[in-house]
C-alpha cells in the first residue's frame, strides 16, 4: 500500500501553511523556495505511481483507515493521473512566472499552493461531497487571488464571479442531497452501481440530478449561457492568476463533467443521446466565443473570450462520447491549458512593459519585443490549429470523431469556429507587426521584467511545438484515461 495519493494532495497544503511561517525564517526568498519544493515533491510522488497506473490498474487509498462506504477514499487511475500531471506541470511554470515579479508576498504563494492542492484533491477524490468541498476551497482561493492587486475593477470582477458561482453551487449541494436520499451513500462507485436501477424506477430524478450537475460544472468551465464571469475575472486578475484561471480552473470543471457523467450516467443517459445537448452547447460556445473575441478592444478580454470558444470545442469532443472524441477532448484540454497560459503570459509581459491594455495602442510592437511577439505568433498558430503545433493534432482528433459520426452540420459549425478563431488571432498578429511606429506611453515606467517571465513563456512555446511534432508521448498518456472513461 503506497501513501502516494494523499501525499500528492497534502504536501502542497502543508507547504501553504508553512509559507506563513517563513516570516520568522529571515530567508530572502523563503516562500518561493517552499512553494517550489512542495510542487516538485508532489510531482515526484506522482511519478512513482506512473508504472502502476499507466498499465490500467488503480491505486485506492482510504483516509483514516475507514473503508469505502463509510469513509472518504481516494483513487488514482488513468484519468486522475493525466489531470494531475497536467496540473503540476502548468502549476510549476506559473510559479516560475511569478518568481520573476518581486512584488508577490507570502500570501500569494500560500493561496496559489492552496489552489493547486484543491485542484489535486478534486482530481483524486472518489467521494462526491469531498469533491464539493475541494471545489469550494479552490473557489475561495481564486476569489482572493483575483483581487490580489487592489484595483477597483478587480473587486467588481471578483464579486460578480463569487455571487454567480456560489448561488449555483448551492444547487449542486441539493443534487448531492438527492443522490444521498436515493442511494444511501456518497461514494462515487457505490452510487454508480445503483443508478441504473434508480433510472428504471424514477427516471425524472436522474434527469433532475443530471441537469443540476450540468449547470454546476458548466459555470465552472465556462459553457455558453454561464460564461459571463470569465471576461472580467480573466482580464482584471494579475497575469499568473489569469493563467491559473484560464488554464487550470476551467479545466477542472471539465474533469468533473467527464468523471461524473461517464461514471454515473454512462450506461443510462449518455447511451440515449443526452450527449447531443452537450454537443449543441459546445457549438454555441465555440461560435459565440470566437465571434466575441473578434470584436474585443482589450487584449486580455480577447484571450478570455477565445478561452470560452476553445472550451466549446472541447465540449463537442466530450459530447460525442466516442473514443476519438474523448481522445481529442482530453488532448485539447492539455494543449489549451499550456497554450492559453502562455498567451496570457505574453500579454502580461507586453502590458507590464508598455502599460497599454488596448490592442490598437500596441501597433508595431514587434520592434520593441521581438521574442515575445514571435512566441505569440507560434502560440496563435497552435490555438487555431495549424500544423506543426499541438493544437492541430487535438483538433484533428475531434474533427475525425465528427467525421465518423457523419454529421455535416456539426462539421460546418466546427470549421466556422476555427475560421473565426483564425480571424481573431490574425487580427492581433497584424496589429503587432504593423509597419507604423510604436508610441510609448507618456510618463510610464516599465516594470522590470526579468528572466523568469520570458523563461516560462519560451518553455511553453517550445513544448507546444515539440508536442506538435511528436504527439505520441502524450497520446500514450491519454489512452489509459480514455480506457477509464469508456471501459
Amino acid at each position: 500500500m503506497t501513501n502516494a495519493p494523499i501525499l500528492i494532495i497534502a504536501i502542497p497544503l502543508l507547504a501553504a501553511f508553512l509559507t506563513h511561517l517563513t516570516k520568522y525564517a529571515r530567508a530572502r526568498r523563503g516562500a518561493e523556495l517552499v512553494a517550489f519544493s512542495a510542487l516538485l515533491a508532489s510531482a515526484y510522488f506522482l511519478l512513482t505511481t506512473a508504472p502502476v497506473v499507466l498499465s490500467d490498474q488503480v491505486i485506492k487509498y482510504n483516509l483514516g483507515g475507514w473503508s469505502a462506504p463509510f469513509g472518504i477514499s481516494l483513487q488514482l487511475d488513468g484519468l486522475s493521473f493525466f489531470f494531475s500531471a497536467m496540473v503540476l506541470g502548468v502549476g510549476l511554470l506559473i510559479l516560475v512566472y511569478s518568481l520573476g515579479i518581486y512584488l508577490y508576498a507570502r500570501r500569494y504563494y500560500s493561496l496559489l499552493l492552496i489552489a493547486i492542492a484543491a485542484i489535486l484533491g478534486i482530481v483524486l477524490t472518489r467521494d462526491i461531497f469531498n469533491m464539493y468541498v475541494f471545489f469550494e476551497m479552490l473557489a475561495v482561493a481564486s476569489y482572493v487571488l483575483i483581487t490580489y492587486k487592489h484595483k477597483p475593477r478587480t473587486i467588481i470582477a471578483s464579486f460578480k464571479y463569487l455571487v454567480m458561482t456560489e448561488a449555483t453551487w448551492v444547487f449542486f449541494l441539493l443534487a448531492i442531497a438527492l443522490l444521498y436520499s436515493l442511494t444511501g451513500s456518497l461514494n462515487m462507485d457505490v452510487i454508480a452501481a445503483q443508478l441504473p436501477q434508480i433510472y428504471q424506477a424514477q427516471p425524472h430524478m436522474v434527469y433532475l440530478i443530471f441537469s443540476i450537475m450540468l449547470i454546476s460544472f458548466g459555470i465552472k468551465c465556462g459553457m455558453f449561457p454561464l460564461h459571463t464571469w470569465i471576461p472580467e475575472a480573466n482580464s482584471q486578475a494579475p497575469t499568473p492568476v489569469s493563467g491559473l484561471l484560464s488554464g487550470l480552473i476551467l479545466k477542472v470543471g471539465l474533469y468533473a463533467m467527464l468523471r461524473v457523467f461517464f461514471l454515473f450516467f454512462g450506461s443510462t443517459l449518455l447511451a440515449q443521446g443526452v450527449g447531443n445537448i452537450i454537443i449543441f452547447i459546445g457549438i454555441i460556445s465555440l461560435i459565440f466565443g470566437a465571434g466575441m473575441a473578434l470584436v474585443q478592444v482589450e487584449l486580455k478580454r480577447l484571450l478570455a473570450y477565445s478561452s470560452i470558444g476553445q472550451i466549446g470545442f472541447i465540449l463537442v469532443g466530450l459530447g460525442l462520447a466516442t473514443q476519438w472524441g474523448l481522445q481529442g477532448a482530453l488532448f485539447h484540454i492539455f494543449n489549451h491549458a499550456m497554450i492559453k497560459t502562455a498567451l496570457f503570459f505574453c500579454a502580461g509581459i507586453i502590458i507590464s512593459q508598455t502599460g497599454f491594455w488596448r490592442l490598437n495602442q500596441m501597433k508595431g510592437i514587434w520592434r520593441q519585443m521581438p521574442g515575445v511577439t514571435f512566441a505569440f505568433c507560434l502560440l496563435s498558430l497552435a490555438v487555431i490549429g495549424i500544423p506543426p503545433s499541438n493544437g492541430f493534432v487535438s483538433k484533428f482528433f475531434i474533427i475525425e470523431a465528427v467525421l465518423l459520426k457523419q454529421n455535416c452540420l456539426i462539421m460546418f459549425c466546427l470549421f466556422l469556429g476555427i475560421l473565426l478563431t483564425a480571424a481573431c488571432y490574425f487580427r492581433v498578429i497584424q496589429t503587432f507587426f504593423s509597419p507604423s511606429e510604436f508610441h510609448h506611453k507618456q510618463d510610464f515606467i516599465p516594470q522590470p521584467v526579468g528572466h523568469f517571465e520570458h523563461l516560462a513563456t519560451y518553455i511553453f512555446t517550445f513544448l507546444c511545438v515539440v508536442i506538435g511534432l511528436f504527439p505520441t508521448v502524450i497520446i500514450n498518456l491519454i489512452q489509459p484515461a480514455v480506457r477509464v472513461l469508456l471501459p
Partner: protein, 113 residues
Amino acid sequence: MGFNGLTVGIIIILLGLYGVLTRKNTIKMVMCLYIMSSGVVLFFVSLGYVTDGQAAIFEDGSRLMVDPLPQAIMLTTIVIGLVITSLTLALALRIYEEYKTVDVRDLINKQND
C-alpha cells in the same frame, strides 16, 4: 406532501434565490446567499430523519437513532457558508470604499470604464 423540513427547505432555497436575483443592494445579496445555504442545510438534515429516532450519540443500550451522516456533512457546509459570507462581505465593504455606493446598478455602469 406535508409541511415537513423538506418542503420548507426548498421554499427557503427558492426565496433566497429570488433575493439574489432581484435585490440591488450588495449587502442584501450577501444575506440572501446565506439564506440559500441555510435552506440546503435544513433540507439535507431533514432527509436523515428517522421517525421516533433519538439524537445520534451513543449511550448505553441500543435505541433508534437518526442518521448522523447528513449532520456531519452539514457542519462542513455551514463552515463553507461562513467563509463565503465573510469573504463576500469584505468584498462588498471594499466596493463601498472605492465607489461609495452599494447599489449594483451603478456598478454596472462603472464596470465599462
